[in-house]
């Protein structure tokens, strides 16, 4: 008897909705899902297909007007239960996806994307124009996007690859990795984590990478023109290639000029090391801390020796 009831209860929770609505070019998708998944894929039809798994107490509302397709769930009694959405949209459709206990994935988008969650990951492949991805407790991952990119997490990592455009990444307790990036304007900042930037340094560009407790590893392509300013309290600086420190230098702060110095690169790490390498070398450069460092002969080395003793 009990098993029968349990089975019936199980059946009651697993309901499927499948709706397709036509859309006009220029319309956008808005999905709000308190808990569950939002997975967006693309196709070449001018229509939006919403499939969802949810409890029988909830019904899915797809409200389509000329400008926006809104998807959300409504419960007959009490708050909505968990809903897992799988939505297929035209590639150019702009996406506004939000939730609290929600994992968000997007694949193949060629439109603007805003995705926000609190307890959940955001994983996007694609995006053109304004792309803004946020989580509090969850990784944020982006690839193959171009435009103005804004990535933010609090307690987890940010990873971006194959990006072109302006990029800004911020987290508190996590690493930031920006690879295969083509940008004139990139900023990554964390408190407790490492920053890796393997991308272009373009003439006239502005780049800023900062951490409090972590390492910075930044690629500088050959024939770059960049003024590099390095600030650290208790960290070391090193480079995979010969560098010339110019101007006044203190233990904590110095500049170096590469080529004409056209671009500006600001590197700040309070308590961690800063290393410059060529593109593609950084990923292989895992044990760099143990290697010999290339120092400008005039640099004060006292700090290095203390640092070496502390290293594992």
């Amino acid at each position: 008897m009990l098993t029968t009831l349990a089975t019936l209860a199980g059946l009651a929770l697993a309901q499927q909705t499948d709706t397709t609505v036509p859309v006009r070019a220029g319309a956008r998708l808005e999905v709000n899902n308190f808990g569950g998944e939002i997975a967006v894929k693309t196709w070449s039809k001018t229509a939006v297909r919403v499939t969802a798994s949810h409890s029988s107490r909830d019904r899915i509302i797809v409200d389509a007007s000329e400008q926006v397709v809104r998807v959300k769930s409504e419960s007959r009694r009490g708050p909505s239960q968990v809903v897992d959405y799988e939505i297929t949209v035209p590639a150019a459709m702009a996406l506004a996806l939000s939730g609290v206990y929600t994992d968000i994935t997007v694949d193949g988008s060629q439109g603007e994307i805003t995705a926000e969650t609190v307890q959940g990951t955001v994983k996007v492949s694609g995006g053109v124009g304004n792309v803004s991805l946020k989580s509090v407790q969850g990784d944020v991952t982006l690839e193959k996007a171009r435009g103005r990119i804004d990535l933010s997490s609090v307690n987890e990592t940010i990873k971006a690859s194959e990006i072109s455009g302006d990029i800004s990444a911020e987290t508190v307790n996590g690493d930031i990795s920006l690879v295969q990036v083509e940008s004139s304007n990139a900023e990554a900042t964390t408190v407790n984590g490492d920053v890796l930037y393997d991308g272009t340094i373009k003439d006239g560009g502005r780049y800023r990478f900062s951490t409090h407790d972590g390492d910075l590893r930044v690629s500088v392509p050959e024939k770059s023109n960049v003024s590099v300013s390095v600030s650290t309290f208790d960290g070391d600086f090193s480079a995979c290639f010969p560098v010339q420190l110019v101007g006044l230098k203190t233990k904590h702060r110095f500049t170096l000029t590469i080529g004409s110095g056209s671009a500006r690169l600001e590197l700040e790490s309070f308590n961690g090391d800063i290393r410059l390498c060529r593109p593609g070398q950084l990923a292989k450069d895992k044990d760099w801390r143990a290697k010999n460092k290339d120092w400008d002969k005039n640099k004060d080395h006292d700090q290095d020796h203390d640092q070496d003793q502390e290293e594992e």
Binding site: G26, A27, R28, E30, N32, Q67, V68, R70, K72, A94, A96, S98, E112, T114, N130, S132
Partner: protein
């Protein structure tokens, strides 16, 4: 170098009297913007915060645009940052405000007929009011408004249209 540019340069080097002159020139417009954009909190406090922040950020003004333009943008940022601490951000553009707007725009015979334009503006839902102010009063474009308010430009356009439709009936006063 005109008088205002001179005052900006002086203020940037720490001259408080120059900054006061800038304040006096710009406070009417800034205060008007603040009064209309916010729905909770005290406009005078917010206006004060705008100018304090302008002082703090003065060194970032590079003279590429007019000082008033820079100050306006800063004011919009201060106003929008405040709404985040006062809560309700997620609901501004949600289902609720959409329904409310459609009801307001659709009504034919309504006591609101008799209220004046500014009061009707005040009664709009936050999102629609802010888009209307930023676009039709302040002259921002939809792309800029979208970035400021954290929405896609399409939302900005539809909210603007809804606001305008709702305000049609209160033009006479």
């Amino acid at each position: 170098m005109d008088a205002e540019a001179a005052d900006v340069a002086l203020a940037q080097s720490g001259d408080g009297r120059a900054f006061e002159r800038l304040y006096r020139t710009h406070v009417p417009r800034i205060h008007g913007l603040v009064r209309r954009m916010i729905s909770t909190g005290e406009p005078e406090d917010v206006t004060q915060d705008v100018f304090v922040r302008a002082w703090e950020k003065l060194h970032t003004f590079r003279g590429e645009a007019a000082f008033g333009t820079w100050l306006h943008r800063l004011a919009v940022n201060v106003i929008l940052a405040k709404r985040k601490t006062l809560g309700g951000e997620r609901r501004r553009f949600g289902e609720d405000s959409g329904e409310m707007l459609e009801r307001v725009a659709g009504r034919e015979r309504e006591p609101e007929h008799g209220i004046d334009f500014e009061e009707a503006l005040r009664r709009l839902p936050d999102g629609a009011r802010q888009v209307f102010i930023l676009h039709d009063v302040q002259g921002y474009r939809h792309e800029e408004i979208a970035k400021l308010l954290g929405v896609v430009p399409g939302t900005s356009k539809s909210q603007l249209h809804h606001a305008r439709m709702a305000l049609r009936r209160n033009l006479e006063r």
